[in-house]
Amino acid sequence: MQARASMPYLALVDNLLFARTQMGVSLGFHIIFAAIGIAMPLLMVISEVAWLRTKDPDYLELTKAWAKGTAILIAIGAASGTVLSFELGLLFPGFMRHAGAVIGMPFSLEGFAFFAEAIFVGIYLYGWNRVRPALHVAAGIAVALAGALSAVFVITANAWMNHPRGFRIEDGVFVDIDPWHAMTTPFGVHQIIHMLVAAYLATGILVAAIHAWILLRHPGNPIHRKALGIAMAMVIPAAIVQPAIGDFASKQVARYQPLKLAAMEGQFKTEANAPLRILGIPDREARETRLAIELPGLLSFLSYGDRDAVVQGMEDFPEENWPPVVVHYAFQLMVLFGMLLFFLSIWAAAHWIGRRRLPQSRAFLWCVLLSGPLGMAAIEFGWIVTEVGRQPWVIYEVMRTSEAVTPMPGLIAPLIVSCLLYIGLSIAVIAVLYRQVMIAPGLPPAPGPEV
């Protein structure tokens, strides 16, 4: 492009880095609210159904408190999602120009899911006196389903970027486009399941942590015990199945993106009986991962179900195609946090099976409180694995990110503005939620009217 040709090479490299960082920051911010938008409505609906069945007013109060939080967080998610849909073009017009026709379909479907979410959340939040209770619950269920459906469509598009199909390239132009073939890429299955379960898990533990915190300050408060119970009922099954889903996901990555798997595991050499590395520092110069705890044969077994299977190392691929080292660390942290949540859930589940209730001890509440951010952190690290692990490609092995970036100079400016915006918004959200928690139901009342 003309503007590009006149720019010095270094400025171009920087611009690519700025564009990628801005996209990464925007995604990293949005994903938290997207996950909450998937799972929070489910908590809210469970609580409302409990209110309708038991007529215990605690559940009604809890539903209303959760609904308020949902209203705030879904709105932030809607706004940050809008930013993303524009940013695809603002930052990577080269990608949209070619990929739009191939992969626009799931985005269009997502538009309708988003419509459903927005319409029914309006009815849910403002319609308490305007629609019958059964319809009110139905609106809440529609919000929960629409949120999950949005995720399915968006992840479908992402899966295509990781395993593109449904087109041919002729002279740099995408031809023979088959959008249906493109959006049914086999890479989507594990991504969708892994992310949906992660959303329920991460949101559940975050909510549980808030109520655990209140319970530590006001022991035995009945509303917050119920809240903790509902949240943990969502966390426990999700945390217990997630490692198995993660295993399935890594097998899919091994099959479709062996280079990404090698980068995740710090596997430089192509070898049979490859070890699973825990921690470790990948050294690209020496082509080895130092200081790792190695479990012999386990990587071969986990990837291909056979301890003697050959795992391709990074050395098999041209170095210019290697994803950044951070993929290895992000993967290790994701797995670590997932395992911590797994063990916490086993503890809670064992207690529940034995005594039909959650552990009551302060130690348990402290553990829940400290685990609160782990789920969201694991989601962030998981997306770093997927997205940074896809680099240097925007469309895997088809188009490099550098070919897609905008010719617009000075991308440092929007990057700084977005960072400031997201930092400001994060502080604001935390402050507003903190004030909400301070007036949580069942606590000594703070002055101030209800919505």
Partner: protein, 341 residues
Amino acid sequence: MAWVMALVILIALILYAILGGADFGAGFWDLFASGPRARRQRDLVALAIGPVWEANHVWLILVVVALFTAFPPAFAVLSIALHVPLALMLLGIVARASSYVFRNYDVAGDVVQQRWGNVFAYASAATPILLGIVVGAISSGAIRVDPERGFEVLTGFFAPWVRIFPFAVGFFALSLFAFLAAVYLIRETHDPELQEDFRLRALIAQGGVVVFALIAALTSRLGAHEEFHVRLLGSWWSWLFFAAACVVAAITTLLVVRRRYALARIFAAGEVAVVVAGWGFAHQPFLIAPDVTIENAAAPAATLRLLIIVLAVGALTLFPSLYWLYRVFKREPIFEELRRD
């Protein structure tokens, strides 16, 4: 099929203007809340848009996704040439949405809440101006690309929109939305005093609409692409649209003056619809005059076919849900029912 998609995008844009536009216009009136009933005016604005603003906002998303699926090069060109105003508009959208929920759900009544209210008001006023600037820049023919060389953008990042015409369209859009919102807001309360407040505001805003329409028309020659100018003011059917807009605007004004609010609401929406539709028809066959057309930017037939099917099926679920939403909240005002204190 490309023409069907162009029409769908235009319809979505019209719906965004008459629904989402009014929400921004309502926020604009938060900025100009005044007199003894200032606080009640602000609460009316907040509660009137509360149940519907998120749904109304989705029309914009639909426009964007339909544009980049059906006309990918057009989306890429706009993203490059209008990067700056689009990014600013996004900033406005985020600021409006977040400050609105913070204002509405935060512990009420203190300084913090008031500050969020201010952000909400300013963002609501700024965003439509930026939207108008984008629209004006698209129409003016100032964005030049080379369709032969992969739709390479030839013009700069500021030149296409830093000029009088796009800004005139920006303020025209703001007055149009403010007018629409004021007319809608009259029907959002039973309180006759509040109704009078917004009746006055509607009439003032309608004056603004006329003034900025004239400025936009006069400045449209400055740098506007010749063909668009000729089409907008020259051909017989554009006069038809022009006449229709004038007639509908006159009737709406009359209805507001004579306090026939139920009808006025419909005609105000009609006024905006005619304006946006006229703009869209003046544009064809261009998406971005004069180099990007509906034909040369269209996605392959396989994509368009599937997209139209998806949109048709989606519409089957969308419109009944929307109908339910508006029936629940827009038949009877919720202001008196939900107002705090």
